[in-house]
Amino acid sequence: MQLILEDGTTFTGTAFGATTGVAGEVVFNTGMSGYVETLTDPSYRGQILVLTYPLIGNYGVPPPRAAGSLTGPFESDRIQVQGLIVQSYVDAYSHYAAGRSLADWLIAEGVPAVTGVDTRTLTRHLRAAGTMKGRLIANGEATTTRLREVDMRQDVFRQVAPRAATRHGQGDHTVLLVDVGAKDNIVRSLLARGVRVIRAPWFEDLSTYFDEADGVLIGNGPGDPSDLEPLIAQVRRMLDSGDKPVMGICLGNQILARAAGAKTFKLPYGHRGVNQPVQDLLTRRCFITSQNHGYAVDHDSLSDDWEPWFINLNDGSNEGIRAKTRPYFGVQFHPEARPGPEDTGYLFDEFVRAIRRPAYA
């Protein structure tokens, strides 16, 4: 198969997944483990994923989980990426938890994948030229063929959201998880802290759940936050009308920022990996975080009621915001990890503590 980038650059390799041609934005991730989690992360919806770690497939893939189950390492119930590009696919996997090879899984889900590509050179190209679109096609296939592609302005948000709200867990308090493609581990992280979770698709009228919920978490998701104006409007009303704790993660952080009047912008090639260093501007403490985003909050555009909370130590970009006087905060990274470091899992503790102690405001 071949990867043909928007600027004409071509990389050739051997197919090891499905052989259907696809198109999408080509992004790279620098994590060294966690391909199952990454491939099922809805934030990658519509994108062709390049993994920079050269050996992929080593520990295989667990057997499929039952319908409706939330168990890991799956972060949603399907592979979300459009296509996968690796340096060296390893078919002879070895792991007690594995039930099938990565190739078998990709084929079963109809996702194309290529091995034998110099992913370092490809990554250097994407870094230098910026993220761009690409087409993954079988050798010899006409370059004019219409390829499977996801509309990233509208359809993508519908594709990753559940059709209807679901309820999970038992507990004294309830969190409304606004789902624009939230990873399952956000739900698992909340359940582990003893709260009930209502997982509602972002396009529903969220106010119907509002009385029931003690706090709101806006999850991660794909795409450009500025394309989610209806959701931003709902969140703005939420922020204005109440003082229930609101937390945003990744896309949720950007939604929160835009609802509070700030701007977001596209990063040249995004942050995708499990080694992103961030610093808490209040305590000066630093954490290694898991990240996957192409857009960021412009913290200079924050209103006086808000302040930057975390920054990225590599490039100084914003990694989190908080309201000065109300229990609203968001982080650009993934405290739920999966894949990646669990260092910032304490943020869920703080969120749940805020819910249980309404006087926090």
Binding site: S88, D118, R127, N275, A337
Partner: protein, 1088 residues
């Protein structure tokens, strides 16, 4: 980023080094210590170093402000603290030696008394990590699981603990380096034996633990700063399952068979544990992980820089030692810049886009009687690291890097015997047996069942085996796809040529035709996420373009030393680094090629471009063709690069310095012998044996036994031996793989009772520029690497010295030498004979450079680059004496006979300086662990002439030093004859009063055993006594000349104190008649 916040910067810091290289503690600590000193100097801290390892970079001029080449003992360190007015101590950069010394100083209150702070990890935290019981308790507090274990201080306690936990159990020694005294124990009888060895060897406490054989062994390198920021820089997975010491194990980074859940589970525990313990700086945490669940155990935490951290630094490009030193000075991680990207900070976790494989290098066959099984104790003497993008690529590179005569993963190359299980026993050659089994059709599952090695690794090895078979089948018609696949899997051109029956050089031509070549990729710490200016490169066939273009500057390439092994170690790293620095000073861009992670030469800031890759004809040519340097220096890295000289030259590479044809004239025995005859220089008589039947006649022609025997074809084995009589010669010839006209054996007259002399020199177009003559304390016959070297010579005739210099001058002219060289001579009654000549830097270059304060490696490099500066050669008339003393690691090699011979067995060395020979020798001996005897001396003196010779010394021991003397029968009779009182003891344990029991009971603390006869195993007589002395940690001397020198020195010591003087003060140019004392007085005046 937010401004440096430094609580209290020390003004005068002492760094404790690790001393001589020994098994379990090697060159990695030169790397970490040098980085620490660099970091301190950047902060303007006055830095004092104690380290008797003279061959290191850290003891070189320009790093520390004062260098003490002395034994690392609490008493000496205290003296230095007082003398240098030290206010801070760094303990974590000199391995276990430094850590133990620091703990002792803390316990005795010395540090508190002198107001010395320990920088970095607090002593309490170190203590917790070192004391097994405290460690377990600490981890229990935070719910982190450790192996079930009991700390035991006695045999009885250990027996009870083993009974409770149930056999098999794991036995470990506390406070020990390299897993000394540890192992899996299957039965109570085995337990008793191991306990005795551990307790006798000075291990105060052992740990009896649950046996986790077959679990995965995983390590993380963790860094934490004083503000609780904590990261894991790298994780590593052992190829061999638990049970094999990580230093003995093939290791890959990052882990390969862990999924994210497992990776993060262990990472989170690492951070939690290190925070709880309160480490400030760098440490290593080791785990056992169940291959069938997420069950884990923490095995240990090393609260210091370690072999693994050196490996992790080189594997990731993250400078752990440097960062640890900055943290010790109070910096937080985000305040320390990332030197690779120059735009990010040290607070990040490297993302690798390649795989790294470490392979240990053993030299077990150098030791007579040593067991070849490997396990939880370290026996390897060095290691290599290969970088690439798949496991087959790196494992094949790594095997070639070992320099054991293999072109990659060759099946069953070492002729394994026995059934599959026996063949697959853990030994240095197990991986070849695995390849052999796979070739013979055993399945991956079968091999897994016998070895416990994860199927992931075995599957990758099987891929190599399958490709080997495909190549052999394709033969000369090998097609492009298969060739490409072979190169992707790390096959060398030579391996493919052999398999496909192609001529030398043909694969290179085919590759060029098909456009198959390796590309250079950067190690940039962030998987290309950020632009990096790094010069740290490796080559891989899995890339489609180079990351960096060659520069247009004038440049040279220096080939490093490769893996440390017996006979080639840190001294060649010193030479290579000095060569690079000298060339850089002259304005050259420098390219360093080396693959040893335990070195300073592979620090990316040592040279302009570091290519971490093989040193082989193929790889050097690939690099040379691409980079187009003005020339290549092959004479600074020891024998590996030197051996390439002629072949590189023939391939069109410009070799700097002496012409490769002349190098060949020195290396080729017949050519060199002819040259000596031409120059009218004497040499020991020699001849070639091409047929075993002729051997007797040939020996007769040489003048009879003893003779030195040197087979020309040896596969990673002991090369030389001495035959004292006919049967022994036959035994040796049988051991040689082949004796034929193509592979003749060199037999030469072995001179006894002769002096051995060395000259180290630099010449320029055949004229001597720098030279220094050293004499061996021992008689000729002890390998020069195992001999005690004295510079300047103290006992040679002036005429001998003159003759040696004359010969060196003639040979330099005869070979038109430009650059470094070393010659060895025999001298007997004023007659001087040449033993050998190497046209390269020698093992003793750093020693002579530091003793004479003239940098031989730098000067040689300048001369090779055509630069002439006036040089003063002062090496004979010095106001002090330098002594180089070998360090042996016999205690780690069960069964090995601790006897010196023509094969080198020492693993390291120290170099000490004193006002006279006695002082320098004692400092040197103490720096290798020798302690002056106080309880008693056991004499067993072998040949009658030695016995007789030693009578004066025996008298000194008994009468002047007042030490009780014990002697074996023959020696006791001789002593009685000359009127020295002694107690006679038997040699065998079955006798009532015997030497073994004497040693066991601690009645003697020095054994002098000079053997001659051989027992029925062909072992020199007295083996049991020598072995017992080593196992009991009692000083052992086996050479009569050394014995005499030591007794003389002990007598001198009675009336003299050891005042420590730094190298800088000792060797600085001084006025006429100025003594060390005067200089010291002047220095303290100016300080006041």
């Amino acid at each position: 980023m937010f401004g440096a916040y430094l609580p209290r910067k020390p003004s005068r810091a002492l760094v404790i080094g690790s001393g001589a290289l020994q098994i379990g503690q090697a060159g990695e600590f030169d790397y970490s210590g040098s980085q620490a000193i660099k970091a301190l100097k950047e902060e303007g801290v006055y830095t004092v170093l104690i380290n008797p390892n003279i061959a290191t970079i850290q003891t070189s001029e320009g790093l520390a402000d004062q260098i003490y080449l002395n034994a690392i003992t609490p008493a000496f360190v205290e003296q230095i603290i007082e003398k240098e007015n030290v206010d801070a101590l760094l303990l974590s950069f000199g391995g276990q030696t430094a850590l133990n010394c620091g703990l002792a100083l803390w316990d005795s209150g010395v540090l508190e008394r002198h107001g010395v702070r320990v920088l970095g990890t607090p002593v309490e935290a170190i203590r917790t990590t070192e004391d097994r019981e405290l460690f377990k308790q600490a981890l229990d507090q935070i719910g982190v699981v450790t192996a079930r274990s009991r700390a035991c201080a006695s045999t009885e306690e250990a027996r009870a603990a083993a009974a409770e936990i149930g056999f098999p159990v794991m036995l470990r020694g506390a406070f020990a380096l390299g897993g000394k005294g540890s192992g899996i124990v299957e039965t109570p009888a085995e337990l008793d034996a191991k306990l005795r060895r551990a307790f006798d060897g000075g291990v105060p406490q052992v740990l009896v633990e649950e046996c986790l054989r077959g679990w995965k062994e995983i390590e993380y390198e963790v860094v934490r700063d004083g503000r609780d920021n904590c990261i894991t820089v790298c994780n590593m997975e052992n190829f061999d399952p638990l049970g094999i010491h990580t230093g003995e194990s093939i290791v890959v980074a990052p882990s390969q068979t862990l999924n994210d859940e497992e990776y993060q589970l262990l990472r989170t525990i690492a951070i939690k544990t290190i925070r709880h313990l309160g480490i400030v700086g760098e440490c290593n945490i080791q785990y056992a992980l169940d291959p069938h669940s997420t069950d884990y155990r923490v095995i240990e935490v090393n609260a210091r820089l370690s072999r693994s951290s050196a490996l992790a630094s080189k594997a990731t490009g993250y400078p752990l030692a440097y960062v640890a030193a900055k943290i010790a000075l109070g910096y937080a991680l985000p305040e320390i810049p990332n030197g690779i990207t120059r735009r990010t900070t040290a607070f990040f976790e490297p993302a690798l886009d390649y795989i790294v494989c470490k392979f240990p290098r053993w030299d077990l066959n150098k030791f007579q009687g040593a067991s070849v099984e490997i396990g939880s104790e370290m026996k390897s003497v060095g290691e290599v690291m290969a970088i690439g993008r798949t496991f087959p690529e790196v494992i094949q590179k790594a095997i070639r890097m070992l320099d054991i005569g293999c072109d990659g993963l060759e099946p069953a190359v070492f002729d394994p015997a026995g059934d599959l299980r026996t063949q697959l026993t853990a030994t240095p050659s197990r991986i070849f047996a695995v390849a052999g089994a796979l070739t013979e059709g055993f399945s991956v599952d079968e091999v897994h069942a016998h070895t416990g090695i994860d199927r992931w690794f075995l599957d990758a090895l099987d891929d190599i085996v399958q490709t080997r078979m495909a190549l052999a089948e394709a033969g000369r018609a090998v097609a492009e796809p298969l060739l490409r696949q072979a190169k992707l899997q790390g096959f060398s051109d030579k391996a493919i040529e052999k398999l496909c029956d192609l001529k030398k050089g043909e694969v290179r031509k085919l590759r060029r035709h098909h456009g198959i070549r390796p590309y250079l990729a950067q190690i940039d710490t962030l998987a290309a996420e950020f632009p990096a200016e790094t010069n740290y490169l490796y080559s891989t066939y899995h890339a489609q373009q180079d990351d960096v273009a060659p520069s247009t500057r004038k440049k040279i390439m220096v080939l490093g030393s490769g893996a440390y092994r017996i006979g080639s170690s840190v001294e060649f790293d010193w030479c290579a680094v000095n060569a690079v620095q000298a060339a850089a000073e002259l304005g050259y861009e420098t390219i360093m090629v080396n693959y040893n992670p335990e070195t300073v030469s592979t620090d990316y800031d040592t040279c302009d471009r570091l290519i971490f890759d093989e040193i082989s004809l193929e790889s050097v040519l690939d690099i040379y063709e691409r980079e187009q340097p003005e020339g290549v220096i092959v004479s600074m890295g020891g024998q590996i690069p030197n051996n390439l000289a002629l072949r590189l030259h023939q391939a069109g590479v410009r070799i700097l310095g002496t012409s490769p044809d002349d190098i060949d004239r020195a290396e080729d025995r017949s050519k060199f012998s002819a040259l000596l005859d031409e120059l009218d220089v004497d040499q020991p008589r020699w001849s070639l044996v091409a047929d075993v039947a002729e051997a007797d006649a040939i020996v007769e022609g040489l003048g009879g036994y003893p003779v030195l025997v040197r087979p020309s074809y040896v596969l990673s084995g002991a090369a030389m031996s001495v035959a004292h009589e006919e049967n022994e010669l036959q035994r040796i010839l049988e051991r040689a793989k082949e004796v034929s006209p193509e592979h003749p054996v060199v037999v030469s007259k072995f001179e006894t009772h002769a002096r051995e002399i060395e000259i180290d020199a630099v010449a320029d177009q055949g004229e001597l520029v720098l030279w220094s003559i050293s004499e061996h304390v021992e008689d000729a016959g002890v390998h020069s690497g195992d001999a005690t070297l004295v510079l300047p010579p103290q006992k040679l005739y002036i005429s001998t010295i003159r003759r040696v210099r004359q010969i060196a001058t003639q040979v330099a002219r005869g070979l038109n030498i430009t650059g470094p060289f070393n010659m060895q001579f025999l001298a007997k009654h004023n007659a001087v004979k040449v033993i050998e000549c190497n046209l390269r830097a020698s093992r003793s270059f750093p020693f002579v450079s530091k003793v004479t304060n003239a940098n031989y490696a730098a000067e040689a490099t300048r001369r090779m680059l055509g630069v002439r500066r006036p040089v003063r050669n002062e090496s004979l008339d010095l106001d002090y004496v330098g002594v180089k003393v070998p360090m042996f690691s016999f205690s780690r090699l069960v069964g090995a006979d601790p006897l010196l011979g023509v094969e080198m067995t020492s693993t390291g060395e120290v170099g000490c300086i004193g006002d006279n020979l006695h002082e320098a020798l004692l400092h040197g001996l103490m720096a290798t662990g020798f302690q002056p005897p106080q309880r008693g001396v056991l004499l067993s003196l072998g040949p009658w002439e030695d016995k007789f010779w030693f009578t004066d010394e025996a008298r000194v021991l008994a009468n002047e030093l007042g030490l009780p003397i014990y002697a074996t029968a023959g020696t006791a009779r001789m002593l009685a004859d000359v009127g020295v009182a002694c107690t006679m003891v038997g040699k065998s344990e079955s006798e009532p009063n015997n030497a073994i029991t004497l040693i066991n009971d601690g009645k003697v603390d020095l054994v002098i055993n000079v053997p001659r006869e051989y027992d029925r195993f062909g072992r020199p007589d007295g083996y049991l006594i020598r072995r017992r002395a080593i196992d009991a940690g009692v000083g052992l001397i086996t050479d009569r000349q050394l014995a005499r020198a030591v007794v003389d020195a002990l007598r001198w010591q009675r009336d003299h104190d050891h005042e420590l003087v730094s190298w800088n003060v000792l060797t600085a140019p001084r006025g006429v008649g100025e003594t060390t004392q005067l200089r010291l007085a002047r220095r303290s005046d100016s300080a006041a």
